[in-house]
Symmetry: C2
Subunit: 191 residues, 2 copies
C-alpha cells in the first residue's frame, strides 16, 4: 500500500511520455525561466531523483519538448500549389508550432541538438525546394535562410517587444517577412 499518489489516484509507474506531457504542461504554466525539475517532480507526485531515471538531465527533457514542437511543425499539412505557397505554409507551421507553447521559440533556440523530428521538418522544406529545381546545396542554403528568419522573428515576438503590438500587426509583419524571403529566393528557383 505504499504506492505513490497523484491527484488522489494511485499512479502508474512513470515513463518518458508521461514525464514529457507533464513537462509541456509545466512549461505552459510557468514559462522557461521558472521551469524546474523539482516542480515537475512535485506535479507528478514523485521525488526529483525519479525523473533522472527517465531523462538524464533537465536539458534532455527540454530537448524532448523541442522535438515535440518540431513534430507539430513537421506534421502540418502541405497545401497543393507552387513552391512559394508551400514554403509560406511551412514557415507558418513552423511559427505556429513554436507559438503553441509558452517560450516555444526559445526552447527551440536553446535545444542542444536537432533531433529526428527537427530533421524531418527541415527535410520536408528541402524537399519542396528541390522539387522547385534547386540542387542539394542550394536547397539546404535556402531552407536555412527561411528557418533562420522564422526562428529570429518568433523568438523576438514571443519573448517581448512585439507583445505590445496587436496580433494582427504581428501576423502582417510575419507574412511580409516570409514574402520577402521567398521573393529573394525566386530568381534562384526560376532563374
Amino acid at each position: 500500500m505504499g504506492r505513490r499518489r497523484n491527484n488522489g489516484r494511485f499512479a502508474m509507474p512513470l515513463d518518458r511520455s508521461v514525464v514529457l506531457k507533464a513537462a509541456l504542461e509545466q512549461l505552459d504554466e510557468v514559462g522557461l525561466d521558472e521551469f524546474s525539475t523539482r516542480k515537475l517532480a512535485a506535479a507528478l507526485g514523485v521525488r526529483v531523483g525519479a525523473l533522472y531515471w527517465h531523462y538524464p538531465s533537465k536539458q534532455a527533457l527540454l530537448d524532448a519538448v523541442a522535438e515535440h514542437i518540431a513534430a507539430d511543425a513537421a506534421a502540418a499539412p502541405l497545401p497543393d500549389g507552387d513552391w512559394a505557397e508551400r514554403l509560406a505554409a511551412i514557415a507558418r507551421a513552423h511559427r505556429d508550432a513554436m507559438l503553441a507553447r509558452r517560450d516555444g521559440a526559445r526552447v527551440i533556440a536553446c535545444m542542444s541538438a536537432p533531433g529526428p523530428m527537427a530533421h524531418a521538418f527541415f527535410e520536408r522544406l528541402v524537399g519542396v525546394l528541390r522539387e522547385a529545381g534547386l540542387d542539394a546545396e542550394g536547397a539546404a542554403s535556402a531552407g536555412d535562410v527561411l528557418t533562420s528568419y522564422v526562428n529570429g522573428f518568433t523568438v523576438e515576438e514571443q519573448a517581448r517587444g512585439l507583445r505590445r503590438q496587436s496580433e494582427a500587426h504581428r501576423e502582417r509583419l510575419f507574412g511580409f517577412g516570409v514574402s520577402v524571403v521567398i521573393a529573394g529566393l525566386r530568381p534562384l528557383v526560376e532563374g
Copy 2:
C-alpha cells in the same frame, strides 16, 4: 585596513562600468549557462550582495551586456555605396558584434527589453532604408526582416550545429542569406 582586495591590489569602490566589464569577462570565460552573480562577485573580490547595489538583478546585468553588444553593432562604420551595400554591412556588423562575445546572440535574444543602443542600431538601419525611398512603416518592416534573419542565423550558429561546419562555410551561408533578404527587398525599394 579592512579594505577589499582584488588580485592583490586594494580596490576602488565598484561602479556599474567595472561590474559590467567583469560580467563581459565572465561571460566569455564560462558562457551564459554557467554565468552566475556569485562567481562574478568572487571575481570582483566582493560579496554577492554588493552587486545588487549597482544592478537590481542578474537580468539587468545581462541587459547591460546586451546593450554593450548593440553599441558595438551600432558603432561599426557605414560604407559609402548604395543601400544594398550599406544593408549588408549593417547585417555583418550585427552578427560580428554578437559573435564577439560567447553566447552573445542568446544574450541579445533573451534581453528583457531593447535599450537605447539597440534602438540606435535599429534606427540607423531604418535610416538607410528610408534614404533608399521606403516610407516609415516600410522601412521598419524591412528592418525587422533583416534583423530577425541575422538573430536567427547567429543564435543557431553560435549555440550549436553549424559549429561543425567550417567558418568559411558559415560565412558563405550567412552572406547568401543576407543577399536573399536584400534581393527580396529590392522590388520594394526600386519598384
